[in-house]
Amino acid sequence: MQPHAAPLRLTVRRSRSSVGSAVAVSLTVPADVRFVEEAVELMARHCLSGLAPGQRIGFRVRVLLAEALTNSILFGADGNPARTVRLAAELTDHAIRLQVTDDGPGFDPEVIPDPTAPGGVSKSIGRGLFLIRSLADQVEFNEQGNTIWMTLQRS
């Protein structure tokens, strides 16, 4: 089921310098989980276009975007469609750097329990950050904990 709202609009900026080319992509998404599928596809398509990435990086980009966006919508913006979450990506010859920011109070990523610990496997929740850390080559947060950066090396 698609939400009834204005279509999502992606902003793309391209730049070229002596060290190579770069593309910056950004997208603002209403804090409604019904937008996740469309937002992930829009971003993933631009992150992966023209660069002949293997299937594995496409899978990783999609899961990372879905996880971080869902977390921000549900916990950062309380699932309030009047609020928004911002997705951005910096694409260079060597890496894809994804960014997700919400307007919430943030959280402490160090206090999230390991879902693969005894007792965790049979739980229905708590795997999002674990998947992000497992699938990204590098994960960073801002001090407030309401922005996450996830970097994937292309090679």
């Binding site: 089921m1 989980v33 019904r34 937008f35 996740v36 599928e37 992930v40 299937q55 594995r56 899978f59 990783r60 999609r62 899961v63 879905a66 996880e67 869902t70 549900l74 879902p115 693969t116 496997v121 049979s122 739980k123 229905s124 929740i125 708590g126 795997r127 999002g128 674990f130 998947l131 497992s134």
Partner: protein, 111 residues
């Protein structure tokens, strides 16, 4: 993109997940399985051969469904996972919770 359901002659309900299983559509899958349980179905196969990706919400939904099916002495199996999905189940150790078969045919032969 979405879910379709077929039933084989042995009464196994096969749920085909096309596209993705994520936060926005997981409830639909849960409802399909619950409706089957309410009708007395006890054998379920989740066919992932057309699944692009699953996020943690989708994994959580599968865990919930597995519990519900086991509570009524039923059986829920997974099949057709590609290499990425298989790795996801191994990373999260969910391969210890679900019987996973390479193909739908293999899974159906295991019920």
């Amino acid at each position: 993109m979405g879910f379709t359901k077929t039933t084989n002659p042995a009464g196994v309900a096969i749920l085909h997940v096309e596209g993705q299983l994520i936060v926005g559509n997981r409830q639909e899958l849960k409802t399909m399985v619950q409706d089957g349980l309410d009708r007395g179905e006890r054998k379920f196969l989740i066919d992932c051969s057309q699944t692009a990706y699953i996020d943690s919400s989708g994994l959580g939904a599968l865990v919930t469904l597995s519990k519900k099916v086991r509570e009524v002495q039923g059986e829920l199996r997974m099949a057709g996972l590609n290499e990425d999905l298989r790795a996801l189940f191994e990373l999260t150790k969910l391969d210890s919770l679900f019987p996973i078969s390479p193909t739908v045919e293999d899974a159906l032969a295991s019920f």
